[in-house]
Amino acid sequence: MAVNAAELLRTDELGKTERNDIWWTEPLLVVSTLVIFSMYVFWAVTQNANFEVGPYLSPFYSPDLRHTFPALFAQFPWLSPAYLVLWIPLAFRGTCYYARRAYYRSFFLTPPACSVGPSQTASELYEGETKFPFVLLHLHRYFFILAAILAIFHWKHFMDAFFFEQGMGVGVGTVVVGIDALFLTLYVFSCHSWRHLLAGKLNCFTCGAFEKMRHTGWKNQSLLNEKHAQYFWLSLATVWFADVYIRMVASGQWRDVIYIFGQGFTTL
């Protein structure tokens, strides 16, 4: 029997769809991962302990403010240095164009998946990125610059991770810290705002030598940009694991195997 077409074809009900695939797995995975990650980060930064061991420093506590401003942290021993720096990667990730795709779908349900009905409340309030607070996402380019500086510090920590008390060497932690620095760099420099600043804003790529040079950079960066989503998750995983690893070694749960050049293997 024919029924009201608007009712049959309606799209404004949460989860309403004729899709027969398991579309809900992606938002579920994203929510689960980001909630567990956020809880872990909150726990890790409030610990204010076990974030450094030997030459290794947890990436959540980078740059190393405790040794740069010892008087400050002696006066306020309860103050976790991570509080002062962690807003940079959080703001970069929170305003990231890929992250927006992930959290608009998974947390705001606008929509939970393509061609699936959105949250009705979100639907009634929806103004895109035209109004506060979402209009602040347009500041992503500034958080990119801060994140790029942070990536430089991560490479510095990687370089530091070769210098042990016994001498110069390589530990498992050195590799862990290096992988974190690598994926953070790939994530930061595959950014859409960086792509725009490099040359995306130009209308003519061939109007001068500088423009040609910028176009070459833009073209190469575009290859990285295609993988921005993968780098988002890989860098999240590697920074997470780097903190877990350093925390476990610092608390004595795990032993870090190191090879000291000219001396051989030992542990930290």
């Binding site: 029997m1 024919a2 029924v3 009201n4 077409a5 049959l8 074809l9 799209t11 404004d12 769809t17 004729e18 899709r19 027969n20 695939d21 164009y97 927006r100 795709r101 608009y104 779908r105 606008t110 929509p111 393509c114 061609s115 699936v116 009905g117 959105p118 639907s123 929806y126 103004e127 895109g128 990125e129 035209t130 979402f134 209009v135 347009h138 500041l139 380019r141 859409h192 705002s193 792509r195 725009h196 995306g200 804003k201 209308n203 003519c204 790529f205 061939t206 109007c207 040609k212 176009h215 940009n225 295609e226």
Partner: protein, 257 residues
């Protein structure tokens, strides 16, 4: 008898929307599956054998005209590009019209809203009319070439939740016209300043980057990464970047005309 003759031909069940903008229902049909068949072939079989009045718009059957847009199992798709062997045949194949536009009859929708929006975009405005003497290098042409692949199937418009679910047609032109605006705004010979139009009239910031448009594009245009986000960044340069705004206030940076 040969074994192939005794084997029953595989059947697919189609659940097709029949009706108009006011009333309708899903009708069920059984269609024999042939090798290499697409969903449009199944609908043609239904037209030929069950209901000759089934309305479905199609033309080239080669995924190049953009006419046969509909939703197959809830996903905006070209009927001629959706292969039956890519669908689970143990359950019905649901075919419905595009949800973002009014139904005219069965699978045919009225997409004229798109043409009205298109008319509002000021066309290409070159520096001079002497087009014979233009020199354009491939580096400058290739961004627009990607956007020119668009076949105007409007699948991106259909899946865009801003149009489909929130019905913000008065505020947002949709991904297809972001692509057209990007091709014009990035053109080295275009002289028109379109940024205020892109921000205020076309409503680029109503897009929240969920990338569904990119997922459904049959021409694989990277709509979000190559058109919408670059336009958003251009709008940020002009309207939201606090440092660039300060430089303009101090007269150290020229405001766009």
């Amino acid at each position: 008898m040969s074994s192939s003759a005794t084997e029953a031909k595989q059947q697919a069940t189609f659940k097709v929307y029949r009706g108009d903008a006011d009333n309708g229902e899903h009708h069920t049909y059984t269609v024999p599956v042939e090798e290499g068949m697409v969903v449009l072939d199944g609908l043609h079989h239904i037209q030929a054998n069950d209901c000759p009045d089934l309305a479905v718009r199609w033309n080239c059957k080669a995924a190049k005209c953009g006419s046969c847009s509909a939703e197959v199992n809830g996903k905006p798709s070209l009927l001629c590009k959706t292969r039956m062997d890519a669908l689970p045949l143990d359950e019905p194949i649901t075919v419905t019209p595009l949800r973002a536009f009014p139904v005219m009859k069965d699978l045919v929708t009225d997409v004229s809203w798109n043409y009205e929006k298109n008319k509002q975009i000021k066309p290409f405005t070159p520096k001079n009319e002497d087009t014979d003497n233009w020199e354009m290098y491939q580096e400058d042409a290739e961004r627009a070439q990607e956007f020119r692949k668009c076949i105007e199937c409007f699948l991106c418009q259909d899946t865009c939740h801003v149009l489909r679910n929130h019905d913000k047609k008065a505020n947002f032109f949709g991904p297809r016209f972001m692509v057209r605006l990007a091709s014009l705004d990035m053109h080295p010979y275009d002289t028109e300043d379109r940024l205020s139009f892109i921000k205020d009239t076309a409503g680029v910031n109503y897009c929240n980057i969920t990338k569904c448009c990119t997922e459904v594009c049959p021409e694989d245009i990277k709509i979000t990464d190559n058109a919408i986000i670059p336009l958003k960044e251009r709008v940020v340069d002009e309207y939201y970047d606090p440092i660039q705004g300060l430089l303009k206030m101090l007269g150290l940076k020229k405001a766009r005309k």
